[in-house]
């Protein structure tokens, strides 16, 4: 474990992180509410070092947000989720994707190149009718949209974020 303070240098917009930084990120991804002291104790470094490194990673936007994960069903929200594939005129793909990001119904937006350029978006709505109204009134009319395929999710088997743990496996101790 390196004890010296790490300088986070950005090269090609990628921060240079050492093992201690990654261990801190791993700890925060598991529980972002734990104290600097608890993290320091776990990693064998001073809490001030933990504080300093976290502050730097926040400044460099390595850590972008701390948020609560809410079980929506337990608060009575019963949205349906759908995966929407939007086939577009290649010249309009970026603009259509940008428009989709502005809608609160759209949680995630990706562009992809398979046989043709397309946009994949994760959409939520209170009901199938609301989902259809959103697609018909807000997505289909966008200039450059050629056709849309929407699959309503019937069962969620896994939902998680990429954990830094996977990245740590390749690093020397």
């Amino acid at each position: 474990m390196q004890g010296a303070e790490t300088q986070l240098k950005l090269k090609h917009n990628v921060a240079s992180l050492d093992k201690a930084d990654l261990e801190i990120l791993k700890a925060l991804q598991e529980d972002s509410r734990q104290t600097y002291t608890a993290i320091g104790k776990r990693l064998g470094i001073a809490h001030s070092t933990v504080y300093d490194r976290i502050r730097k990673m926040e400044q460099q936007k390595v850590i972008t947000n701390y948020a609560a994960l809410v079980d929506l069903e337990k608060v009575g929200v019963k949205n349906i989720t759908a995966m929407m594939t939007v086939y577009t005129d290649p010249k309009e793909t970026e603009r259509v994707a940008e428009e989709l990001t502005k809608s609160p119904e759209v949680l995630e937006v990706y562009t992809s190149l398979s046989d043709e350029l397309l946009i994949i978006a994760k959409v939520v709505a209170p009901s199938q009718e609301d989902l259809h109204a959103f697609v018909a009134n807000s997505v289909a009319p966008l200039q450059g949209v050629l056709r849309i395929r929407t699959s309503i999710v019937t069962k969620k088997l896994k939902e998680t974020h990429f954990l830094i743990t996977s990245h740590l496996k390749g690093l020397p101790l």
Binding site: H132, P141, L146, R147, R149
Partner: protein, 114 residues
Amino acid sequence: MASETGSKILRTVPREKAFYFFTSIGNYTGASAVSLKEFMEKINEVNIKSLEFHLYRADFEKWISEVLEDAWLAGEMRRLQKFGLTGEALRDQLYLTVSRRLKRLMSPLGPLQF
């Protein structure tokens, strides 16, 4: 020359008010219509599933009534639902109904003469 009412019904509407043809919830075919004339043309072209999907959800009736503001044709769409037609029989009947209305609206007699 179409009458004033006929001209209103026959106008081209903005893209955001167009009719967008879907085959099921969220599945857009890529076909749309911005006027009654284009709507009639698309009836002959779109997947038959789309016609069945929209007729029995009263989407045609709603668009014709609220966007084109043709109460008579909206009523005909409502009446068609009761026949329970599907497949090509539905396409033929829809096309016949809309094309007759279009012809009438474009005639000098005006929209209310049948």
